[in-house]
């Protein structure tokens, strides 16, 4: 549902079916809704069968990169020589994204069930559920569900009475966007500063505490019980456009839009209809200016481009952007593009872990130059300097936070250049009030 709004008939509710229904939060309520049947079923399959089913489904990572989940699981060593770990990424800090929070608030057992199935598939006896420190309410709800799951024998040394050990531990973050990057997340679990690690080695070889590890997003893992229960083929059939993008996706819509919220639609759904029909379009008297479709880290679309974008991995790439996390930021004609791009750059400058020069210096200088432009003291060459700086920040660093800062800056200058130029060459008179 477009929670907090009532469900829209054009949604395909799989993950969000019980949003808003507090009874689904409890163990009894979850069982009543068919919960934990998929886990029981999975524990009766071989690990290979579970992985095959997820491969068949075509499920791709919902954390941003879109890597096929079943393929990722198959990278874990078959011969277990060390402990294996699963990390569930509930750091959700990408501006525009607020879907994992809703999954945890309303359907904590859905997530625990997905974690348990994935843990079984990759031979992990221990799962770390990394929840960002600011998510106090989801933390409380997940902890209560976890306690209940242990009390009912769903988890523990003899999970579901099937002789398999599956433990889940909640690890609370403490404020750092970068800890959503998978290797930084592992460092944070290990009690270190959340600096991303250089790859290789990849986590499936050397992950958390030096052991083979798989990291998946909350929404990815929450989709797994449905795939096991209804079959990979069923999930793969949920697709409106590209066969490489399957299933449903929760889109978080925010910014200057009439009905912000989470909407669950089938992959390939037209952006235009999601925005104008489901989310109610613009606020009275306003027109659409731009959309950032995949969380703040992806290139901006003009209103025109957005209107014929199909919402799946391929559809977004065709428009020169990315589906990312599915956090859609809507900007109307009242928005000062220069100021908001500066504000986004400030986010990245604040969140840079400062290991890489290009990122540490690049994000800081991007902010300074944009502030100078906003203050009416921009120089004619500033836009070119920004573009050049962004190029130097792309593809050269340990993680892609640096690229993520460059993407909105470059696309905004290319697509909304007159707005930037209006601030240039007019001295203080042009300065933002």
């Amino acid at each position: 549902m477009g929670f907090p709004h009532p469900p829209h008939p054009r949604e395909t509710q799989v993950l969000s079916r019980w949003f808003g229904d507090a009874e689904a939060r409890t163990y009894a309520g979850w069982i009543k809704r068919g919960g934990y049947a998929a886990l029981e079923q999975a524990l009766g399959m071989t690990r290979e069968q579970v992985i095959e089913e997820v491969k068949t489904s075509g499920l791709r990572g919902r954390g941003g990169a879109g890597f096929p989940a079943g393929v990722k699981w198959s990278f874990m060593p078959r011969q277990k020589t060390k402990a294996h770990y699963l990390c569930c990424n509930a750091d959700e800090s990408e501006p525009g994204t607020f879907k994992d929070r809703e999954i945890m608030r309303w359907t904590p057992h859905q997530l625990l069930e997905g974690c348990a199935i994935a843990a079984y598939a990759i031979q992990a006896e221990q799962v770390f559920l990394y929840i960002r420190g600011e998510f106090t309410e989801p933390l409380r709800i997940m902890q209560a569900a976890l306690d209940e799951a242990y009390a009912r024998g769903v988890l523990g040394a003899n999970a579901m009475g099937k002789g398999v050990r599956i433990d889940i531990t909640i690890h609370r973050g403490a404020g750092a966007y970068i800890c959503g990057e998978e290797t930084a997340l592992m460092n944070s679990i290990e009690g270190k500063r959340g600096n991303p690690r250089i790859r290789p080695p990849f986590p499936a070889a050397v992950g958390v505490f030096g052991c083979p590890t798989t990291i998946n997003n909350v929404e990815t893992l929450s989709s797994v019980p449905h795939i096991i229960a209804r079959g990979g083929a069923w999930y793969k059939g949920l697709s409106l456009s590209s066969p490489k993008s399957t299933g449903t996706k929760l889109f978080s819509i925010c910014g200057t839009v009439a009905r912000p919220g989470n909407y669950e639609v089938t992959m390939g759904f037209p952006l235009k209809e999601l925005l104008l029909d489901l989310a109610g379009g613009m606020r009275p008297g306003r027109t659409l200016k731009a959309v950032i479709p995949g969380g703040s880290s992806v290139p901006i679309l003009t209103a025109e481009e957005a209107m014929d974008t199909l919402l799946d991995y391929e559809g977004c790439v065709a428009k020169g952007t990315m589906l990312g996390s599915g956090g859609m930021i809507v900007l109307d004609d009242s928005v000062d593009m220069v100021y908001q791009v500066m504000r986004l750059a400030r986010f990245y400058a604040h969140e840079s872990c400062a290991q890489c020069t290009q990122c540490r210096e690049g994000t800081a200088w991007t902010v300074k130059i944009l502030q100078r432009i906003l203050g009416g003291e921009g120089r004619p060459a500033d836009l070119d300097v920004l573009l050049d700086l962004s190029e130097q920040m792309t593809g050269r660093t340990i993680c892609v936070l640096s690229d993520s800062c460059a993407a909105p800056v470059v696309s905004a200058i290319r697509k909304f250049r007159p707005e930037f130029e209006r601030y240039l060459g007019h001295g203080k008179a042009a300065a933002r009030a």
């Binding site: 420190g133 600011e134 609370r172 973050g173 009690g191 910014g255 930021i329 908001q340």
Partner: protein
Amino acid sequence: MSAADGAGTGGAGGAGGSGAGARTGAAATARARAEHGVAVLPAVFGDEGRRKLDAILARYPAKSGALLPALWMVQEAHGWVSPEGMAEVAAVLGLTPAYVKGVVTFYTMYHQHPVGKYFVQVCTTTPCNVCGAEDVVAAFLKATGAGALGATSPDGLWTVVESECLGACGFATPVMINDDFIEGVTAESVPALVARYR
């Protein structure tokens, strides 16, 4: 950090430092605080705290895994993570205080200084910003008397800061007051909200 913190820790950071050295650091810091008339903060990992920590340690294959949880325990007990708190955590986990400080400073939610009784974080990142988040900040600064970002109001009750995306962008503007997460705050609703806490 006061000069006393250096004493007994042997300087350089890095994991696996001596627990004994760390304990000396804690004692020295406590002494220095007492001499300056600053309240000595009670130990966090006494009987009950120790039991809670042991339960946490059991869930990690290495002691260092308990560092973030232990720091949360300190902040819950004291309201901030003081140098003594860091030294105590270092001692119980076998790390050096310098290493612990290196971790504390990385994360924005650990307070390295005492803050007001009510710590207010307002998201002002782009999605909330275009919905009027900066007006919400201004309203908080006015209604609480804190005056400036990061400053504590004269009555010691309020500290207001801007935060980056709180992961609730569809509920602009989300605000945290201590552990309370409040959605849909507007500049107009701030005075009543502040009055509820006072």
